[in-house]
Each structure stands twice: as structure tokens, then as C-alpha cells.
């Protein structure tokens, strides 16, 4: 086994790659959130932005890169979780935290699985499901967003899902940084606060689109 394969297969190496892909996905979420803010500007801006992205020559490599990031992140998360379960074959009859664990940290794999389900549905609805065109001949994503969020059930599911994304990131961002070795008394508290901030931003930011579409645009 080469030094590189050996490093990647080690517990530290797996967590390093899991962390790096997680950080890259946080970067994608920031871009996605900022791009979606154009919803508030109106149909022309939002559809124009989507059209600009989809007609770019870079869209295919970017989407393949994103797919690779998600796949590597998911496969490694499952591998690490399976390894962790086998490291304690017999569980305690009683367990109580002494202060380290949080709701976010102990539910990472569960929030991750639900986010994956949400991601598949999200792609089916918005990436592959919208075929109608606007007056300019662009995919009318703006109308699709308003139409989908007309359903209170879909709004509730979407808000729940993006809150889970926020919960996942609130632990994941700081955990990823530690996994790649970034931790120092000088800046660790700031990075932990940033991790929480990202979690809140994603939960509130993405939820706002669904709530705005449902309550203020009436889905029309």
C-alpha cells in the first residue's frame, strides 16, 4: 500500500477528507443561499441568474464536482459510522454525557441521512422537474418555487429539512476544521461561533424563501 493510500485509509485520513468535503459543501451552501436571495428581487432576476448558471460552459464540471463532493462525503460518513459502531459492540446499559456532546454532534449521521433524502427530492423538484419557460424562453424556476411552496405540507417539510441542514453545519463546520488540524486557542472560539452562525444562517435563510413564498406571494 502506498503512503498516500495508507494515509487516506487511516482514521485520521478518512476524517480529513470528510472534513474537507464538508467545508467545500458549506462553501456551496453559501453560494446557493446568496444566489437564492435573488428570489426577493423578482422573476426576471432569479430566472436570469439560473439561466446564466445553466448556460455556462462550467456548469457540467461544476455539477460533476458537486456530485463527487456529496458522494465522497456520504460514503466516508457511512464508513466512519459503521467503523464507530463496531468499535463498541456492546453498548452501556446507562450512558450520560459529562458535557461534550450536543444535539447537533450526536445526531450528525441522522441529520445527514435526512438531508440526503431532502437533496434527492430537491433535485427532482427544481433541477430536473421544472420544464416550463418564461417569456424570455428561460426555465421559469421563479414560478416553480411559488407553485411548490403553495402547499403548507411542502413548506413544513422544506423548513424542517433546512433546519436540519443548519443543525448539521453548526457542528460539522467546526468539526471539519478540527479534523483537518485547524484549532488554536487564539481563534478556535471564533471558529466555533462562526460554525453556529453558519448553522443559523442556513436554517433561517433557506426557510425564509419557503415562508416568504407561502405567506407573502400566496404561491401565485
Amino acid at each position: 500500500m502506498s503512503w498516500f493510500t495508507k494515509a487516506l485509509k487511516s482514521s485520521v485520513g478518512k476524517k480529513f477528507v470528510l472534513g474537507l468535503t464538508g467545508l467545500a459543501l458549506v462553501g456551496f451552501l453559501i453560494e446557493h443561499l446568496v444566489g437564492n436571495l435573488l428570489l426577493y428581487k423578482g422573476a426576471d432576476s432569479f430566472n436570469g441568474y439560473a439561466h446564466m448558471l445553466e448556460s455556462s460552459e462550467l456548469i457540467l464540471p461544476a455539477e460533476l464536482g458537486l456530485l463527487a463532493l456529496f458522494l465522497v462525503h456520504i460514503v466516508l460518513a457511512i464508513t466512519v459510522t459503521v467503523g464507530n459502531k463496531s468499535a463498541r459492540p456492546e453498548v452501556y446499559s446507562m450512558y450520560a454525557s459529562k458535557g461534550g456532546r450536543t444535539l447537533a454532534s450526536k445526531t450528525m449521521i441522522y441529520t445527514g441521512i435526512l438531508i440526503f433524502v431532502f437533496l434527492v427530492l430537491h433535485l427532482v423538484h427544481f433541477r430536473f422537474g421544472v420544464q416550463s419557460l418564461d417569456a424570455e424562453g428561460r426555465r421559469n424556476l421563479y414560478a416553480a418555487v411559488l407553485a411548490l411552496f403553495r402547499s403548507p405540507v411542502y413548506v413544513a417539510w422544506y423548513v424542517l429539512a433546512v433546519c436540519l441542514v443548519g443543525l448539521h453545519v453548526s457542528h460539522g463546520f467546526q468539526s471539519a476544521l478540527r479534523s483537518i488540524g485547524v484549532n488554536h486557542p487564539k481563534y478556535a472560539p471564533a471558529l466555533e461561533a462562526l460554525s453556529l452562525l453558519f448553522g443559523f444562517l442556513f436554517a433561517i435563510g433557506f426557510s425564509s424563501f419557503a415562508l416568504w413564498a407561502h405567506f407573502f406571494k400566496g404561491g401565485s
Binding site: A7, S10, V12, N84, S86, Y92, G100, R101, S105, G181
Partner: protein, 250 residues
């Protein structure tokens, strides 16, 4: 004080094991937890029963021998304390306490509350030391060490290898133990010649022993009787990655 104890009893590594209930009566609040167990064992021996096996040595919180779960918490509810230094005054009359051994694939149970922690010894054997040729001691001022580094190294060196980090981690990970051992030497001039080989060997030995992966929950730091910081885990990650890329071995 009167307490109800549910203690894990397991005759041998192959025995199935079960929780057995004992009544601890007339316990002094000034007793240590292990002294309380001593009284239970005295009564068991007088009745002709097998006493509860638990590990202990110094009973001063510095040797790392003792350790088991008290109602789901490694070394009991107090922070920064080994179970030998945990006193009964921290419990309430009438409490029910559940005592279980450390549970991890890498820590097979030997008997009752005693587990085999030789996996930690094998990690140290893999490289958690400094090779020193015999001879007269070098001149003390010949090795210059920054004060700040010496302090951080000393904090890491406080690890007593009790295994509470593994026991409390939901993944049974030994990253805090290995992080402490790598840090204490990586920060000092004496540790430099074997720095890269040590980081690689210790992580390989840790993985081979069947410990889990770290998911950065910091439960280990909260349970550590010596309050070793999880920053040592981040340092271990850095040391391992640096060594993977720069160590001469292919």
C-alpha cells in the same frame, strides 16, 4: 448513607455478564468510591461470595489504574476526577448507581469492572517514547525549550492512560490519548528526531487495535480526569498529515 448499587458481574471474558443489585448500607460520606466498594467486597467475602473485581493502585488519582462507568459517566459525575478520588459526599442517600466496565472492542472485559487496556500499551510501544542512548546526562541548558511549548507539552503529559476518553466517546475512539502522547513529545526538542515516525506509528497502532474514529464531540475532554484538551486531537491530525507527506518511508 444507604445506596443501591447495580454492578456489572462477569466471571470471565467469555461469560455473558449481567447487572447484579447490591445494597450498600452505612456508607460514610467521607469514603472514597473505591473504599465504598471495599466495604461491599468485605461483606461479600464474609458471606463466601466472589468479591467485585475492580482495578486500582495509587488511589491518589495519578496512576491511571482505576476507572469504570458510574451511572453512565466515566469516573462518575465529577469533572477532573478519577473514581478513586471521587468521594461519597457527592452522592445522595438513597441513590441508585449503575457500575459498568469501560466498553470498547479494544478493551475486552477480563472480569467484572476490569478491562484489558493493553491496546493503549501497544500504542505506546509503537512509538510513544523517545529513544535515548545510555550515557551521562547532557548539560541541561544545551536543549533550549520555549516556555510556552513546555507548558502545553506538560499539560498533554498529564495523561494517565486510564482509558476514560475511550469509554466516554460514543465511538470508542482513542484519539485524545494518542493526541496527548504525540503532542507531549512533538512540542519538545527531545521528541523531534522521531516526530514523524511516531505520529504515523501511533495512528496505525490505534487503528489496528479497533478503536473508533473521532467525531469531535469533545466528550473525551469532558470525561478526562486530567482535563486533557481536544486541541491535542487537532495537533495529532496535523502531525499525522505532515508526517504522511514528509516522512522518508515510502
Amino acid at each position: 448513607m444507604n445506596l443501591t448499587l447495580k454492578i456489572w458481574r462477569q466471571k470471565s471474558p467469555k461469560d455473558k455478564g449481567r447487572l447484579v443489585t447490591y445494597m450498600a448500607k452505612g456508607i460514610s460520606p467521607d469514603m472514597s468510591f473505591l473504599e465504598m466498594l471495599d466495604t461491599i467486597n468485605r461483606d461479600l467475602i464474609l458471606k463466601g461470595d466472589d468479591p467485585v473485581a475492580f482495578e486500582h493502585d495509587c488511589r491518589e488519582g495519578i496512576c491511571g489504574s482505576c476507572g469504570f462507568m458510574v451511572s453512565g459517566q466515566a469516573h462518575g459525575p465529577l469533572k477532573g476526577t478519577t473514581v478513586c478520588q471521587l468521594h461519597m459526599r457527592h452522592f445522595t442517600d438513597g441513590d441508585t448507581l449503575v457500575l459498568e466496565p469501560w466498553r470498547a472492542k479494544a478493551f475486552p472485559i477480563i472480569k467484572d469492572l476490569v478491562v484489558d487496556r493493553s491496546a493503549l500499551d501497544r500504542i505506546i510501544i509503537a512509538g510513544g517514547f523517545v529513544s535515548v542512548d545510555t550515557g551521562s546526562a547532557p548539560e541541561a541548558n544545551a536543549l533550549l525549550t520555549p516556555k510556552d511549548n513546555a507548558e502545553i507539552a506538560m499539560d498533554a503529559a498529564a495523561c494517565i492512560g486510564c482509558g476514560a476518553c475511550v469509554a466516554s466517546c460514543k465511538n470508542a475512539s482513542a484519539m485524545l490519548f494518542v493526541g496527548a502522547k504525540v503532542s507531549q513529545l512533538a512540542l519538545l526538542p527531545q521528541g523531534q528526531p522521531e516526530r514523524e515516525r511516531r505520529a504515523l506509528s501511533l495512528v496505525t497502532s490505534m487503528d489496528d487495535a479497533g478503536f473508533g474514529n473521532c467525531t469531535n464531540e469533545s466528550e473525551c475532554e469532558a470525561a478526562c480526569p486530567k482535563e486533557i484538551s481536544v486541541r491535542n486531537i487537532a495537533r495529532l491530525n496535523r502531525e499525522f498529515l505532515r508526517a504522511s507527506f514528509s516522512h522518508p518511508a515510502k
